[in-house]
Amino acid sequence: MSSVPEVKMMSERHSQDMHPPVAPLAMPEQMIERPRRPFRLAVLLSAFLSPAS
């Protein structure tokens, strides 16, 4: 006599739905690049050349 889980498995095996079980898991995107900083010389030059200086 089959146990309940075995019966469930048998019906799964013959089901047309072959999708894997739904069991969501968080997979957050990681930071792998440093945020780009403006080129320092350009910052210096712009500060030096700006009309306010």
Partner: protein
Amino acid sequence: MVRLRRSVSFIFSFVVAAIASRLAADVFFSDGSDPVDVVRILLLATTTAWIAWGASLAVQGVFISDKKSRPRDRHPVPLDAGKIGVLVPVYNEDPVSVASRVMAMARSVEATGEGRRFDFIVLSDTQDDTIANVERRCTQRLRSEGPEAIRFFYRRREKNTGKKAGNIAEFLRGSGAAYPFLVILDADSLMEGETMVEMVRRMEAEPRLGLLQTLPKIIHAKSWFGRAIQFSAAFHSPAFTRGLAAMQGRTGPFWGHNAIVRTRAFAESCGLPALTGKPPLGGHILSHDYVEAAMLARNGWTVRVDADLEGSYEEGPDNIIDFAKRDRRWCQGNLQHGRLLGAPGLKPWSRFVFAQGIMAYLASPLWLVFLVATLLAPLLAPPLNYFPQPRMPAIFPRPETMQAIALLVGIFGLLIGPKLLIAGRALVTGQSKTMPMRVPFLRSTVAEVLWSSVLAPITLMFQSRSVFQVLLGRDGGWPASNRDADEIGMRESWAASWWIVATGVLLLAGSVEFKADLFYWFLPVAVPMILAPAIISWSSRRHSGQKAAQAGLFLTPMELAPAPVIQAYEAHRAGWRHEALTPDVTGQAGLQTGQVAAS
């Protein structure tokens, strides 16, 4: 111990580079010094240090026992609670072969008595609807005929965003919580059930182990080219891997497949964003596995390769063109890692591994530039001065041939020495007991050394072209593997390698024109280049592989006594391929292995 090993290898590489530079200076400065000579010495020092680094890995591996580190449990206990998902990502591959492998692995797992713990999940990124239909029918057949205890699933993405890494990430986000551990395979992977169970045991025994990598052996090579790689993977790769493992400590490698991951660790650490900018250096990361290993280590998880785990197999390219295509992808992926050298929080060793991967491809163009600089050096050399001191006898330049020979022998020694040591170890420790033929084994070692010397200038050219293409902004894309339609005709071979022939001819003609002494030095490089079309075509043919096997060349233990899972796969595939001619099995009359792979 890990630090000591790393230090020894670094010092060894530095000392070798210093000796090579000294010898090169003697040779290059013999007719006076100029800036081109300095560039040549720098190039030679860099490339020699790189070769010495590889040699140090292998030499360390030779003296480390593969059984010492983590012997299998003699009294295995049943696995703990929880399911293990075996992921089989596919992309336009032959469904019959894939399903045959899955069936063989499932039966092998069932034989361990742990079948109820395992689900096999085919994750399809196939873009061709015809192939996808066959994939579905093959999975249905696995569900109806496969072991009762094991479940089989199939999921297809319409768009293959993020390629294989994106495929696995989407599965994790949708179904990852159902599986504490995931075995990640490739479409051509094959693993013994006992090996998978042992991997789970090791993961369960070490809660901080995030990823465990095996060393897959190459199987089913048919051509001369494929069989030479298969032989090298069987005998040389384990020593290199043991050396690598000893030096990497907890910051081990991930090679993208034939590995097991702790699902939670992988999900929390390895969500890969696309790099800013466009391909080739921006966009989705092609060599994602190296980055995932680095990110696991960044989050404090151990990543390890266990070279003692047997029963792990994959197939490889059977010809130089397919090999070069795959190399083109890897080249682009590794050069992308240059963007990640400064990624926040990475372990220093992970950064070094990125640099090492980049150098694996930069070495080829560096050698090429060295050759060209050597050719042009006589043109740029200062005029000879026979009277450097007034009123003293004339001083004639000495050719310093002995130093040049010593340099060449040293470099070849670094390349060949480890292979000879590995062969010696196999004979002494009885590794070759599984192959009752010492003479053919030694003959195969010599043949492999000679063959890799012939092949080296050709791969140097393909790799140099790949590097230049990536640096010039050409995206290599992601062509499907074509591992069953592998014979290359002369016309196709010529189309792929005429520019290598032209380079070889130019090198020889240039040496005659600029400095006749160089002619003989260039012969070992230029002749294989000039013969490239013939070499590529001949080495791709099954006939060449059969000849090698008949002569006892490149035989491996797996060929002489195939593992049960390999035999089971071959039996399933033969049966299913035969049946695939009838529509009721796959729904696609006439769909055969090679046709699918080539489509």
